[in-house]
Point group: C2
Chain length 137, copies 2
DNA sequence: TAACCTTGGCTATTGCACATAGCAATCCAT
DNA sequence: ATGGATTGCTATGTGCAATAGCCAAGGTTA
């Protein structure tokens, strides 16, 4: 069967992202985490005390959508919200959060390595710069 | 602010795909089409008479999810479903469908060109092969 | 100080893309 | 001819993101 989509880089991008996200979600799910959770935990750990809106800007997630995300990882005991100035809250990982993230980091590293090695060696080094050019301003 | 996500190719893939899909969706929306519609129309035109399940396999969309998709483009007058053997239906573009697709093709080509030229010349040729390696078996 | 605009966190709702489970009719192979 | 697989479909749920609006708390300027 003819598939004209196979000639379109945009379609390849869509399918590749979809396949890789499904794979990563499956690998991270046994830890009780979702993809968005992992990205939030990583940024919070690297920037203890960030506010929810700063985090949202870094992850390109709307303020409104940060709420259920942060509730979820707070309910899981991975995060504390401390009042900062009566308007903002500062976010910190709990010990459980740091330890969960340490475990997740292994999964992340394994996955990223697996992903990168799926691409043939001659193209490998070009993947990330090419992708970054597509979304970073 | 530190952003450890920026080192992860998987995260770049996610963000790049999200950005590009948003861009394409915005460009194709004035035609009254969605991304999934366009992919279906392209495959149907290239393979007149395909069945819904064949199409679903090509697009990696579950049978169940083909239903609203095909209903939508049929309701828009772009598609006819003809009974094939009492179980399967064969799919064909209407004249309106072919003409709509001809218009869409211009948008698609412009978008794909824009996308590809966002990546620096030295990486450009590597993007599609790298992406294809990530999802094609 | 008072008026104003902006920001931060939140609720509520919606849309899209995708998944699973189950069903009835049809077909195909042994 | 019976049993298994396939087709199209309904119904439902999930993950992620968007929008509109609310309220309280800052910041800025007159």
């Amino acid at each position: 069967m003819k598939d004209p989509l196979l000639d379109l880089p945009g379609y390849s991008l869509r399918r590749a992202a979809s396949a890789m996200m499904a794979e990563f979600a499956a690998r991270i799910e046994p830890l009780g985490l979702r993809i968005a959770d992992v990205s939030a935990l990583l940024v919070i750990e690297a920037n203890p005390g960030v506010t929810a809106s700063q985090l949202g800007r870094a992850l390109d997630i709307q303020r409104a959508n940060m709420v259920p995300l942060l509730n979820r990882i707070e309910d899981a005991g991975l995060l504390t919200r401390r009042p900062l100035d009566g308007k903002s809250h500062s976010l910190h990982l709990t010990e459980a959060g740091a330890s969960k993230l340490a475990t997740a980091r292994i999964t992340i590293a394994t996955f990223e390595d697996w992903l990168v090695h799926r691409v043939p060696a001659e193209h490998r080094a070009h993947l990330k710069p090419a992708l970054d050019a597509l979304w970073r301003d």
